[in-house]
Symmetry: C2
Subunit: 146 residues, 2 copies
DNA sequence: CCCTCATTTAGAATTATTCTAAATCTTGAC
DNA sequence: GTCAAGATTTAGAATAATTCTAAATGAGGG
């Protein structure tokens, strides 16, 4: 736990789950840890593989269950950038995702949504923003020009 | 063609496809028409069902092919709001999607992206923005309070 | 300790999308 | 016009992603 866990909420996972009506379980802890170990927006299957290393009996269904519980408890975000597998992200600060359509890399960029004044449909109650920017990362752009 | 096709690009579909290396076909025309007939962000399967009414022999694989051709030609956008089927949208003006997490309805709201100054990762070449706002629509919000 | 209910698990089932191979169609060269 | 090359369509198979099911386990409250 020495490494990069900047801004990880110090609130007890136990408590955060409890507020949303979920129980704390070792599996949920493990899945949450996996998300923090490498913030590279893994898919459910990638989380499954990584979780298995230290918890070999965990099942795919449990990974989905845990991810859903974390999302519903406000401890992780679902990120749907394109067709195919959904990705997950434990960064709950307001930010947007720069997505390289060529190599698939995702970059988190802090972005305060109040800086953009958007006209809402009448009576719409906003829960959260989901901002993706598609394009070419520097590396892939360089490759294309060569 | 009398109805609501505001802002539909008057450019020839033929030509727009051609520029991207695709051929014009009746199926692509039909799929494009379906998207304009009812701008409710249908899934590929919904497009398939609607397209079939006037073109009974069209197949699912063709619908996917046509949608991909339209997206690659800049005539439609892919919209991935949540897990599950991708939706499609022929509105190419800059706009964001307000999405009701309860009833699934999608509202297009014009939104000039240059109004939000975002810091890009170094060297990133932006292709397009994909902005979703999740929450509760007016109708669903009302229902919850009663 | 017992009851209830949440959770986990493996595997089946479902849904969404992509792939394959054969048939058809278009286009450009001759 | 005829022909070859290559794009497109089609049905169906295959794959990928997710959800469901039913049985087993586990934890908390009385």
């Amino acid at each position: 736990m020495s490494v990069v866990d900047t801004k990880r909420p110090n609130n007890d996972l136990n408590q955060r789950l409890g507020v949303s009506g979920f129980r704390f379980t070792p599996q949920r802890q493990r899945v949450y840890d996996v998300l923090w170990e490498k913030r590279d927006h893994p898919t459910a299957e990638e989380v499954f593989i990584r979780a298995k290393h230290r918890m070999p009996d965990i099942s795919m269904a449990t990974v989905y269950n845990c991810l859903d519980a974390l999302v519903k408890s406000g401890l992780a975000r679902q990120v749907t950038l394109e067709r195919g597998a959904t990705r997950f992200c434990p960064n709950m600060e307001e930010h947007c995702h720069y997505y390289c359509d060529t190599c698939g890399e995702v970059f988190d960029v802090p972005f305060p949504t109040e800086s953009a004044v958007m006209p809402h449909p009448l009576g719409f109650k906003v829960d959260h923003y989901d901002i993706a920017v598609h394009g070419l990362c520097a590396a892939c752009a360089a490759q294309k020009n060569s």
